[in-house]
Amino acid sequence: MKNLDSVLAAYLIGWGVFFAYFISVARRTSALREEIERLKNSLNRGK
């Protein structure tokens, strides 16, 4: 089983990159949702 560690490393890193990217997009989306709520509230207060 020569190079098994390299093959596993490649696949694990590959999935890791996608998972990290997915989490990053989800986090940014949730932060923006909060920002939209905050802005809408300040807009309503100003009217």
Binding site: K2, S6, A10, V17, F18, Y21, E35, L39, L43
Partner: protein
């Protein structure tokens, strides 16, 4: 929400099945052995990155002529997702190369043009952080995105036009080149899984960009009060 979770579940299953096929179903290559199985992740990611950058190119072109924000949102979404896939290509390539070539990296035409492609799309995303005014940012990045795409045919052609350390193409290559039918089937299945993953990530990223557009609109209203 249920639709999104179902779609994500389907994509996860597809990617898991593709990994199983790449690691256990595809035949072991005669000269390289087990390490060649990286090929299925490496090549399918590269093809998917090309598709993402092509979508970005088309979206950028349409934006320049229509100036509709949704094309800018699609452009940035596909650029970022394409960049994620290119990152996988640049990581898996050296892991595969080291045991086969004895070196992690060499500045041949294919590897260099791929690295330049990665740098170009990093620059595309950086450029967007430097311009605050939304319309100006969208136009500048669309023009830069059109220019950045010029490197994609160069990456594709590098192993066809020049002698490189990187192997010659096994699909759409010279006469006599080719793949074992089972290897080809596994490669195409892995590509299908990667395309599904690309669609899922791009959709998520597009929604984020659309929300950002909404925030900028509300911010302008708040500042105008």
């Amino acid at each position: 929400m249920i639709k999104q979770i179902t779609a994500a579940g389907v994509v996860v299953l597809l990617v898991a099945a593709a990994a199983y096929a790449a690691l256990f179903v595809a035949p072991t290559e005669r000269s390289m052995g087990l390490i060649q199985r990286i090929f299925y992740l490496h090549v399918s990611s590269a093809w998917t990155a090309f598709i993402a950058f092509f979508i970005c190119f088309i979206a950028n072109l349409i934006y320049v002529f229509s100036r509709k924000p949704r094309w800018d949102w699609l452009g940035v979404s596909s650029a970022e997702v394409g960049l994620a896939f290119t990152t996988i290509v640049l990581i898996t390539g050296p892991i595969w190369a080291h045991p086969v070539w004895g070196i992690w990296w060499t500045w041949d035409a294919r590897l260099t043009s791929t690295f330049v492609l990665w740098l170009l799309y990093v620059s595309y995303l950086l450029l967007r952080t430097l311009v605050e005014e939304p319309d100006r940012r969208a136009l500048l990045s669309a023009l830069f995105g059109i220019f950045a795409f010029l490197d994609v045919p160069l990456v594709f052609g590098a192993i066809r036009w020049w002698r490189t350390q990187h192997p010659q193409p096994v699909i759409m290559g010279a006469p006599g080149s080719g793949l074992d039918p089972r290897m080809r089937a596994v490669l195409l299945f892995c590509w299908l899984a990667m395309m599904a993953l690309m669609a899922l990530l791009m959709r998520q990223r597009y929604q984020l960009e659309a929300m950002r557009g909404e925030v900028e609109l509300i911010q302008r209203e708040v500042e105008g009060l």
